[in-house]
């Protein structure tokens, strides 16, 4: 497996053809005096195998964009293109087909599961969704064990348990095991690590990037953590009030930002090698 953590220039080598793109995508909530433009004519191009981050503050429209990409809410104006063609989600069946190609991990692992379904059922569902309904019981168990092993969980210890019996980090890892089984073309990760501590965050990121290397998936991180965006992404989009104010390679956007908003956002993040406004101590030399 390639060293996917070095995903700067090296990571872009396996970036392929266009898989998800949008032109003039707009979402308007309400009407009249209460009309709010949450996403305002945004254009984007996400390529196969690419890791993209959409960064913005609370209320910048990130989650609305995610909902549109996941076909959970309608698009007011503009078009979304999926795998070369215009996205067609006009019927229930077509929507289901679309969801086979795009999956999501949400912020709160505690509310991502059906509390009445045991873990085996959660994983079995994924196998069935990928057309594995007719597989033998042994084959299904083997697949589930493999998925759990990928995220450092022991399938034997999970059988007959409910998701809420796990810790937050374990639940989020189980979510990745689901993705491992589903093998979508695109994974939308909406603040996947904001509710878990820094230590488990490293594990989750590591697993997601391994998964990208394994199945050549596109990962779209939606986050307000600019440090995380810089660390994992090939391309970063900065969103302010429903518009992309800047996008480009991670190094360009984070280290040499051109938009005022991006500069301010980066300035506000506490750092350890560079000065921060309220720091109690002088900055240390940049990493050697």
């Amino acid at each position: 497996m390639p060293d996917i953590m070095m995903n700067g220039a090296a990571g872009r080598d396996h970036v392929g053809e266009l898989c998800l793109s949008g032109k003039g995508v707009t979402k308007v909530y309400g009407m009249g005096a209460r009309r709010t433009v949450a996403v305002d004519h945004v254009d984007f191009e996400f390529r196969k195998g690419e890791v993209i981050s959409i960064v913005g503050e609370s209320g910048s429209g990130k989650t609305t964009l995610v909902k549109m990409l996941l076909a959970l809410t309608s698009v007011t104006e503009g078009d979304i293109y999926f795998m070369g063609g215009k996205r067609d989600i006009t019927t229930r069946q077509k929507k289901h087909d679309y969801w086979r190609g795009i999956q999501a991990i949400f912020q709160d692992p505690f509310s991502s599961y059906n509390i009445f379904h045991k873990i085996d059922a959660v994983l079995l569902d994924c196998i069935n969704m990928r057309g594995g309904k007719g597989f033998s019981k042994e084959k299904k168990t083997e697949m589930m064990s493999e998925a759990c092993k990928f995220v450092n969980l022991e399938f034997k210890e999970l059988t007959n348990k409910y998701p809420f019996e796990l810790s937050g980090g374990q639940m989020q890892r189980l979510m990745i095991a689901r993705i491992f089984l589903l093998q979508p073309r695109i994974l939308l990760a909406d603040e996947p690590t904001s509710m878990i501590d820094a230590c488990s965050r490293a594990t989750i990121l590591d697993m997601l990037l391994n998964l990208r290397a394994e199945i050549g998936m596109t990962i779209i991180f939606v986050t307000h953590d600019i440090g995380l965006a810089y660390y994992v992404s090939d391309t970063v989009y900065i969103m302010e009030r429903g518009r992309f104010v800047e996008f480009g390679g991670a190094d360009d956007v984070i280290l040499r930002p051109s938009a005022e908003y991006t500069r301010r956002l980066i300035q506000d993040v506490p750092k350890i090698h560079e000065p921060w406004d309220f720091t109690k101590r002088s900055p240390r030399a940049v990493l050697t």
Binding site: M6, S58, N152, A198, P270, K271, V286, L287
Partner: protein, 335 residues
């Protein structure tokens, strides 16, 4: 030497579950915070950070139970007090606590000034509503908060403003110690910065005299506090000045934590993030030897058998490991 505001010695507290099981969430924790200083507490979820915060306030309601040790706030012992007495005479006036989701604590039907009246009148019934309003207005102005917030309801304020308002309310009696438990983790970076600025203003103006700041965001801790204590499975495994603890950690767990830091800085992308394998031990049955031994890649059979003592070294630093510092450094050099 500056006056010691908070002096904690060998504090041990536990939870008793409904199945009568003991969970030792804080185990023999000792530290001091001097006047004008701040101590940051770092550690994974479930390592006892928040339980330590609750224990420090003398707030022992079931299932939390005090076991042993002492807590002195400005020389006054509080562990012997009844929880209700502690709430009346210690909470708010001596020690204030800002919980993680503090902004959700505001009753939506009340104006902000009502909360301030509640806090002040609980401790001093002689104050009139006018006195309280004047006091609140002065404090809000000193902290650069608009005074018209006092007559607003919580729903009219943004998340960051709500959090700052809660901090202003809880520190209105100028407590000697402020415990901030993840005060900014629910906020975005811009609001977070404003909350931190406000905490610095409180310290600078003497409205709070010392602080304990709990978070798992290490870059924030590094910038905000003077000292950092790393907590693992209910124990302090390393204590020292922020700079040294972040850049030159001694304990293998602290070293692991520091390697999980992500910041948007040049060179950060080339660093390999290191995750600590495994999960913290179950505190119902803590392991016999060193509590970190199961996850420590440098552990030897000795670690699993012998409980590590807390060793103090010069410069305000200390760590809890079976090995001496030189040996650890040697091991790291070859890792």
């Amino acid at each position: 030497m500056a006056k010691v505001m908070l002096d904690v010695k060998e504090l041990t507290t536990k939870y008793i579950t409904r199945f009568n099981e003991d969970v030792y969430a804080v185990d023999r924790v000792s530290f001091q915070v001097e006047e004008g200083k701040s101590l940051g507490i770092a550690g994974e979820s479930g390592c006892g950070k928040s339980t330590l915060a609750l224990s420090l306030m003398g707030y022992y309601f079931a299932p939390l139970r005090y076991m042993s040790g002492s807590i002195k706030i400005d020389g006054r012992e509080i562990t012997s007090m009844k929880p209700d007495d502690a709430r009346r005479s210690v909470l708010g006036a001596e020690i204030a606590y800002i919980p993680q989701a503090a902004m959700n604590a505001l009753n939506p039907t009340q104006k902000i000034i009502r909360f301030i009246e509640d806090v002040i009148q609980a401790h001093d019934t002689s104050k009139t509503r006018k006195d309280i309003r004047d006091m609140a207005r002065q404090r809000f102005e000193a902290l650069n908060l608009p005074a018209d917030v006092l007559d607003k309801h919580a729903v009219e304020l943004s998340g960051g403003m709500k959090q700052r308002t809660v901090i202003a309310i809880s520190t209105i009696l100028s407590p000697k110690v402020l415990i901030a438990d993840e005060p900014s983790s629910a906020l975005d970076v811009t609001s977070q910065k404003m909350v931190i600025k406000m905490i610095f203003d409180l310290m600078r103006d003497g409205f709070i005299r010392s602080m304990i700041f709990i978070t798992h965001e290490l870059p924030l801790l590094y910038n905000v506090t003077d000292d950092i204590a790393v907590m693992y499975a209910g124990q302090f495994v390393e204590v020292g000045p922020a700079e040294q603890t972040v850049f030159d950690p001694i304990h293998p767990y602290s070293r692991g934590l520091m390697r999980s830091i992500i910041v948007p800085e040049a060179g950060a992308r080339e660093q390999k993030l290191e995750a600590i394998p495994g999960t913290p031990p179950n505190l119902k049955k803590p392991p016999a030897g060193c509590r970190f031994a199961q996850r420590c890649k440098f552990a030897s059979p000795q670690c699993r058998a012998t409980e590590a003592a807390f060793t103090t070294i010069g410069g305000g630093r200390g760590y809890r490991c079976v090995y001496p510092e030189e040996r650890l450094r040697e091991v790291y050099a070859h890792a």
